[in-house]
């Protein structure tokens, strides 16, 4: 082990913490990662946790009418992931998976990720759209 290595090694855990904290800040800023997660130590700092976010999926009829579809339990993991880090690719991936479900009936699927916020005085809840994405119809799914 060189002298330089012996000097540098003790700082590695701290540097790792700082690098991941910076990555956390970037993901929060650019992709609405929940502050609670991601190694930025923002737990217990905001109401914007995983449980304050909600994901909705709709099938789109030819005339533009939307019908909400219930998300099956087997997608829980993917839904939770999309809820806390709604990157465009995560939303697209979720809508693509839902589009292949029989419930989508071969129609295009539109997915929305919402965040609930609370009024400063009255605490009345309201929703803010974080991200939305639509997947085209999947021909293999039965209509």
């Amino acid at each position: 082990m060189t002298r330089w290595t012996r000097r540098a090694l003790p700082w590695v855990p701290t540097l790792l913490l700082l690098v991941i904290a910076v990555a956390h800040a970037v993901l929060v800023h650019r992709y609405d990662l929940s502050r609670w997660l991601g190694g930025g130590f923002g737990m217990f700092s905001t109401t914007d946790s995983s449980s304050s976010r909600h994901v909705h999926a709709f099938t789109m009829a030819d005339d533009g009418a939307r019908t909400e579809i219930e998300l099956p339990a087997e997608l829980d993991e993917l839904v939770r992931h999309t809820r806390v880090l709604p990157t465009p690719s995560a939303v697209d991936r979720l809508s693509a998976v839902i589009a292949r479900l029989p419930g989508a009936a071969g129609r295009p699927v539109h997915v929305e990720v919402w965040q609930t916020t609370y009024d400063t005085v009255t605490m009345a809840p309201s929703s803010r759209l974080l991200r939305a994405g639509t997947t085209k119809a999947v021909p293999s799914a039965t209509r």
Binding site: R6, F41, G42, F44, S45, T120, M123, P125
Partner: protein
């Protein structure tokens, strides 16, 4: 005779405790933490438990850098396997195992002391910045108004200290959680007894002040008095916060890092941290708030 026996035992424990090497103590306590609060999914947990059991049974194993490198890898795998949904202390545990691996590889206790101090400092500085600067709803009290009502783990405290009866609590919970596309809250209000408002204000500012002080005390050695009080502050934080915050793994980790960096000349520090460790364990299993409420 019994009293004399107890005194002798307590004196013997204190002597044994102060004689223990800080790295050894921190290593063993980290392994113990992982035994009492196992982490990870099925592909991580058994391996972590086996390594910890080996380290606790055989002291020479606990000093092997490879043991700590394996634990670093396994705890990192736990983070990666559930990313980004794991809690922050899962990351911290991985950094800490890496610090222990480097300490044992270099056979240098100062490495662990440095990492214990810096990791604690950065955790608290970041937590303070998140609350005071970045989060939009902490300083105005919305975070605790929401959390005390909606998180069932705080229910007993909200009723006991906040003076919110069960019916009002349920009504408020429904008010806050009804926003799900189309559910409306017109005609409903969020009802807060004065004691609840006071509890929110005290929680908001005391948590922020304590975290900021701990961050400062561990990060810099000036003011001297604050730096010297760092262990007392961290012990107080662990002994109070984890009575209500349901993350014992985080508390135990802070205790271990605190012990690793503590000034060994202050005799009360190690027993103080160990009492905090035991308190966190008690909070985890004794439903003290519900018992008081009953």
């Amino acid at each position: 005779v019994l009293r004399d026996d107890w005194r002798a035992t307590a004196r013997g424990l204190a002597v044994d405790l102060s004689a223990l090497d800080a790295v050894d103590l921190a290593s063993r306590l980290t392994l113990l933490n992982l035994m009492v609060g196992p982490v990870g999914r099925w592909y991580v947990r058994p391996a972590v438990l086996l390594l910890c059991a080996a380290g606790l049974l055989l002291p020479t194993v606990a000093r092997l850098p490879s043991l700590w490198l394996w634990l670093t890898w396994l705890t990192a795998l736990r983070v990666l396997g559930s990313w980004p949904q794991v809690d922050n202390h899962a990351y911290l545990l991985s950094y800490w195992c890496l610090a222990l691996a480097i300490t044992h590889a270099l056979d240098n206790g100062r490495v662990l002391r440095l990492n214990g101090r810096l990791l604690i400092a950065l955790v608290f500085v970041l937590a303070t910045l998140q609350k005071a600067v970045f989060a939009p709803d902490f300083l105005d009290g919305r975070f605790f108004r929401f959390t005390f009502v909606t998180d069932p783990r705080f229910e007993a405290v909200t009723r006991l200290v906040g003076g919110m009866d069960a019916a009002t609590l349920e009504q408020n919970r429904q008010f806050l959680l009804r926003d799900r596309h189309g559910d409306r809250t017109e005609g409903r209000t969020f009802t807060e007894p004065p004691a609840f408002r006071a509890m929110v204000a005290v929680s908001t500012w005391s948590v922020l002040a304590l975290e900021a002080l701990i961050g400062m005390a561990f990060l810099v050695s000036w003011p001297r008095a604050l730096h010297r009080a760092r262990d007392a502050l961290l012990i107080a934080f662990c002994a109070t916060t984890y009575a209500v915050a349901p993350v014992p793994g985080f508390g135990w980790l802070l205790v271990v890092m605190g012990i690793a960096q503590a000034d060994e000349r202050q005799e009360w520090v190690r027993p103080g941290y160990l009492v905090a460790w035991a308190l966190i364990l008690a909070y985890e299993y004794v439903p003290w708030a519900s018992m008081l409420l009953d």
